[in-house]
Structure formats: C-alpha cells, structure tokens
C-alpha cells in the first residue's frame, strides 16, 4: 500500500483544495497509518506554536532612537542646504529684483515675477517645518526627489550666473519657472501629508 507523502499530508492541512486532495482524503479514510501520521503532524505544529517565547537580552531602543535622530538631522541639513542654494541663486540674480519694474524688458519682468513667487514658496515651506516631521516612506521619497530636482535647477542657475550675459533671458525664465513648479509641488506634498494626519 502506498502511503501519503509529507507534501500530501501538509496539503490536507491547507484551507484550499489542491489537485489530488480528494484522492488523498479518500486514502486517509481507509489508512490508519496515514491518519496517525496526519495526527502527528498536527501535534508537531501545535508543539511548535507552544514553544516558549524568546526574549532579547539587550535593550536595542537606544540604538534605534539614535538612528532615527541621526536621520532627522541629515534631513534637516538637506533642507537647510536646499534653502541656502536658493538664497544664493536669488542673491546672484538680485540685480533683477533691484531694478524698477517699469523699465524692464518683458522677459526680465517675467523672471522677476518667477523669482518673487519662488521666494514666497520658500517662505511657505519654511513655515511648515518639514524637517521636524516624520514622513511616511512614499511621501519622503517624493519630497526627496523634488528636493534633488530643485538642487539641480539651482546648480544650473548658479552656472547661468557665472556665464553672465551669455545666458539668454528665456533660458533663465525657464529655469526659474521650473524652480517655482518644483517648490509648489514640494509645499503641496508637505501640506497634503500634514492635512492627512490632522496636523
């Protein structure tokens, strides 16, 4: 007589019916050896579940808390760096802000508007204090990507400043508009997240 394999016995313990389970159940009806084997399997699993709980000998919370704090500090530095870069770019192009609006060509006026909008968004962002909050993984990922993209735009703006008059107004305007769009999205990410958790 061929007895049931361990796979078949284990399959009989599963909730769903596997192919071959019906035949296995039929065999079980007529085979006391396999019934005893299935019973031993049940008992073994019950004994596994009843094994005593093992407990850690050392408290690992201090290490976890230290890493959490370290990550928050790193995040704060990242945000600080981001705002610093933006400020540098604004100062570098501050000459535009200083000019009377009426005497500016249309392109420069638009750049000035974009810069003003960028500064307003930065101010809004700093009031949210994003660095002092724990973000969920997905939101943190989106925020980080936006911050990285803003940093890239800032590097291009710095480069444009170094190149001086070689950079055309339409290129500058494009960069500032991109910066405004990214900052807008970043503020949105933080505000949405904050409202989701009732902050």
């Amino acid at each position: 007589m061929t007895h049931l394999s361990m796979e078949s016995l284990l399959s009989l313990r599963e909730a769903g019916l596997e192919p071959g389970d019906a035949a296995a159940r039929e065999h079980l009806e007529s085979c006391s050896g396999c019934r005893a084997e299935l019973d031993r399997l049940h008992q073994r699993v019950a004994r596994l579940k009843a094994l005593p709980a093992l407990r850690p000998t050392r408290d690992r919370w201090p290490q976890v808390a230290a890493r959490v704090r370290q990550e928050r500090r790193a995040r704060r530095r990242r945000i600080g760096g981001l705002v610093g870069l933006a400020a540098a770019a604004s100062i570098a192009l501050g000459v535009l802000v200083g000019r009377p609006a009426g005497g500016l060509p249309a392109g420069e006026q638009e750049i000035r508007q974009a810069m003003a909008r960028s500064q307003a968004l930065e101010s809004a962002l700093s009031q949210i204090h994003p660095d002092e909050r724990v973000l969920d993984g997905r939101t943190a990922g989106i925020a980080q990507e936006l911050e990285d993209r803003i940093a890239r735009v800032d590097r291009e703006l710095e480069m444009a400043d170094l190149l001086g008059r070689q950079t055309r107004d339409d290129q500058l305007l494009k960069l500032w508009r991109e910066r405004v769009g990214l900052l807008d999205a970043l503020v949105d990410v933080h505000v949405t997240r904050a409202s989701n958790v009732g902050l």
């Binding site: 399997l41 073994r44 094994l51 709980a53 690992r60 919370w61 808390a65 969920d136 958790v197 902050l199």
Partner: protein, 178 residues
C-alpha cells in the same frame, strides 16, 4: 502583546506619525518581544536576531506613515520583521553550507535513531527550512506570502516545508513503520 498599546493603538500611531519619540518608543516596547522571538526563530544567532530587531524598528519609525490601519498593527510590524529576518538570511548565505552538509552527511545522521527535543531539532534545520516552518506553521503565512517575501516560488516554500517536517519527524523519533 501590550494591552495598553492595543487599547490606545490609534493615538500612539498618530503621535508616532507626528514624530513623537515617546510614541515610537511605546511601539518598540509593545512589540519588542514578539519581533525578537520571530527573528530569533529564523536567524541562527542572538546577535543576528538583535540586529533584525533593531532594523525592524528603525523601519517602523521611518515608515509609520505608510501603515494604513487596514490590517492589524502587529501584522504590519510582523511583516517588516519577517522581511528583515529573511534579508539577514540572504546576507548570511554562506551559512547555507549547513544545508549542503545535511545533504551529504544526512543519510548517516538521519538513519541513526535520534531523539532530540523540538527546540534542538528546529535549531538543526537549515536556515531556509526553519524560516519556512516558522512563518507557515507558527506565524500563519501562506506559501504564496512566504514565496513573495523570499523571492521564490510557492512550490519552493511547499517543498522546503515538507522536507523540514520529514527531518523533524525523524529527529524527534516519530517515525513509525506502517
């Protein structure tokens, strides 16, 4: 499980999401023991299990905002712990030579009528087999879920479980001629 935490789970989670460190510590204190137990049953050493405990809670602190309260908080924490423990096994892959040795020397050892207690028999299984046994039989994960966590197929999980039970049966002296 910490009954205080379960009664206040919602407010503790809300505080933890807002970055309150004392709430994060409350989560740690409530789930420290079951997470360690799971990790220790899967990992070979206490050091590895303690590292998994630490990594699990760092991930919990980092991702608490991702917990959607659709399932139980413990279920969410447990899945993180199981993933971290399995990740640790993959990192310590060289230890799987144990299993090779089992295969090579197994016949001689297994033919000997060994009778050991369940703790010792469980400890003697290869890390992969032990992980599958613990996750399936004790924690209640399905073969599909285990396969997903291990990056393997459900058939792999099923065959590991069957093989592990054959060995446990032998080592526990449960073999009966029928």
């Amino acid at each position: 499980m910490d009954s205080y935490l379960l009664a206040n789970a919602e407010s503790v989670v809300a505080r933890a999401r807002a970055g309150d460190e004392s709430a994060l510590e409350e989560l740690y204190r409530a789930f420290e023991a079951p997470v360690y137990n799971l990790a220790r049953r899967i990992c070979r050493t206490t050091e590895d299990a303690e590292d998994v405990l630490q990594e699990t809670f760092f991930e919990v602190c980092r991702s608490i905002g991702r917990y959607r309260e659709e399932g139980s908080l413990w279920g969410w924490v447990r899945t993180i712990a199981a993933s971290k423990a399995l990740m640790r096994l993959r990192r310590n892959k060289y230890r799987e030579t144990d299993e090779l040795q089992d295969d090579v020397m197994g016949h001689r050892r297994e033919d000997t009528a060994l009778r050991m207690d369940l703790e010792a028999a469980l400890e003697r299984l290869s890390e992969t087999s032990r992980a599958v046994v613990w996750l399936h039989d004790v924690e209640g994960y399905t073969h599909d879920e285990i396969a997903n966590m291990m990056g393997k197929t459900p058939s792999f999980s099923k065959s590991q479980l069957a093989r592990a039970h054959q060995r446990l049966r032998r080592w526990l002296g449960e073999e009966v001629d029928v």
